[in-house]
Symmetry: none
Subunit: 204 residues, 4 copies
């Protein structure tokens, strides 16, 4: 029973709560992965047909697992948020809280670099995203909160920062990285500058 399973990655009630057949579960995973890739590459306006093609299934199969395109997008986000939350929890006991936090921030940005979906969704998160995503989002928030508190305790982050700001800064850094596009040096410098804003006092 991984946290991922626990937080509703199944489309609710599509088959009345019965566990999915092995092949169905496999198809579901392939669709999810394909959707992640395609949304990342072409934005959320990419067609369902293309996702199906990439997943090697028919469109009908996509809609069997995710009743609407919106639901598919949310499932992609739940998946991502869930993974990130899990990774954050794994860092909660790290010996060096400062580097633990900053490494995690860079990890998120690296993941999102060309993946506008992720931050798009985070941006809308407070407004209209469904409960399921919101719940996994709270998991992530909470894990991040722990990392932040510990980093502040270690003097690696300014005291006047709270988790909300950190998330906003992550969103910003991801977008800056996306903007920097094909220039990896510029990307690295811009992200570094943004995260430096979180650090206290004189720069290391």
């Amino acid at each position: 029973m991984t946290p991922i399973r626990r937080y509703g990655l199944e489309t609710p009630d599509v088959n009345g709560g019965k566990p999915l057949r092995a092949d169905a579960r496999r198809n579901r995973a392939r669709v999810l992965e394909a959707a992640d890739d395609v949304f990342a590459a072409k934005g959320v306006s990419a067609s369902t047909e293309e996702i199906a093609r990439r997943a090697g299934v028919g469109v009908g199969t996509v809609f069997r697992h995710f009743p609407t395109k919106e639901a598919l997008l949310q499932a992609v986000l739940v998946e991502r948020f869930g993974r990130l939350a899990e990774q954050a929890r794994g860092l909660a006991g790290a010996p060096a809280p400062g580097p633990a936090l900053f490494d995690f921030l860079h990890h998120i940005v690296a993941q999102s670099a060309t993946k506008n979906v992720f931050t798009d969704a985070l941006t809308k998160a407070g407004v209209e995203v469904e409960e399921m995503v919101a719940e996994v989002g709270r998991e992530l928030w909470s894990a991040l909160d722990t990392l932040l508190t510990r980093a502040q305790g270690a003097g690696a982050v300014r005291d006047d920062i709270r988790t909300g700001e950190v998330i906003a800064v992550i969103v910003g850094a991801s977008r800056a990285a996306e903007y920097a596009g094909r220039d990896p040096d510029l990307q690295a410098r811009a992200v570094a500058v943004i995260f430096d804003g979180l650090r206290p006092g004189p720069r290391p």
Copy 2:
């Protein structure tokens, strides 16, 4: 010498260089403003029909002034970039170079707060934006460069920063602000944190 002529804000040569008739110019401006609002509120996938409705004109009028939707989007950007560049040039001789730069940065973010179009386009700028937008973008770049150099001369900005990074950071700050959405306090704090990354040494 209207600012409009000077900053190239017109679609080039749609009617062979003749000046627009009074009513046409009025409608063009209304369409542009409506497009800016609608793109900002609903993203670039908002329909042309809605823009026409908001501008109080028929769709045909929109297409008369801007032959494709893409052209309309570009005109919106040219307009924005042009205005920003003009403002940046206006600050070039300001007595306090540090505040001049930071005020300008905040100004851009304030303008873009809920207007993803702007940074969306900046993000694509290096890749596929047309020459006209690119040109106005270069004007902005150059004006920003001046402000940055003077702020560094005044010790208000780290010496290892270049204009490219500043633009990436602006993009990031704009997106962070957009994310912060309805919480103005969070918005202000997140943007402040991000721009603090540009400042040298110990934080004020």
Copy 3:
């Protein structure tokens, strides 16, 4: 009082029967000529805007002279039919009736080679073309009838041919010429073969 004037080349009643001002008459002629060219080059689906551009006037002017696009097309045809009828009448007293007819036939085809409009209209003529065009058409029919009768009297055309067939054959020859397109040799041979069908001789 040319036949051209006589057969209704003016749009009926656009200005209550008053004679057109000199500049208006000039514009009307330019529009007519431009329409002929443009319809010929691009087919009847060419836009009114393009015709206006070619005529060097505004669209409004086109519509002032010809209340609908259909009316403009008809005026073009009336013009053409009228000119042809006039030329046919001029040949009525020619010393060699056979060559007179065949030269006239080739003349029509040469004129129509790339001008589908003309034969398009002839094709619809029996069905739905307006009275004005029909009237000028009858003029042409009658002039052609004279040429045909004389050519048959001279033994240059089969006796079992009537004017209706000749017109149909003209339409066919024009289209064959149009088909032959860029190959002038093929064009000449095909048209010659078709008109040879009108000549007397042993038929298997």
Copy 4:
């Protein structure tokens, strides 16, 4: 070995070469037939919507089978050309080569009587029609070439005629027939006259 496969009547590779499902094949045929009828009745500017209506399917279905209107028109032509080529080949061994050719010519004209599409396309054929149509056109050309040579061998057609002229003459006869419209007698006589031009005999 269906004639359909053999004569390339299918849109190539729209679904990766897999055979169409039964219902899809049925719909495709209905669309093609409806398009043929509608194009014939109203010309190529008839709307896709009307074709869909006539076929009893949604517009989407038309576009699934034929990605553009142009593609649909071409498919109609390929269908027709293919059928004609097949029929021509069927006549290649006929005992009386003269009548075989002339019967075939009349057959084409009868088919095209009210169907301007066919000759419209033939007219443009040398210029811009796509490869697929051109290929089927070559098949037709080649079959016709055989018929012609044999008819000339039998002394039923002038020796100075080549296949190119025959095709041009067919186009002309079809248009003459179309022109003759509602008068079947006139139609028959005009077509006969035109084809008589192909027969041998004294030419003045």
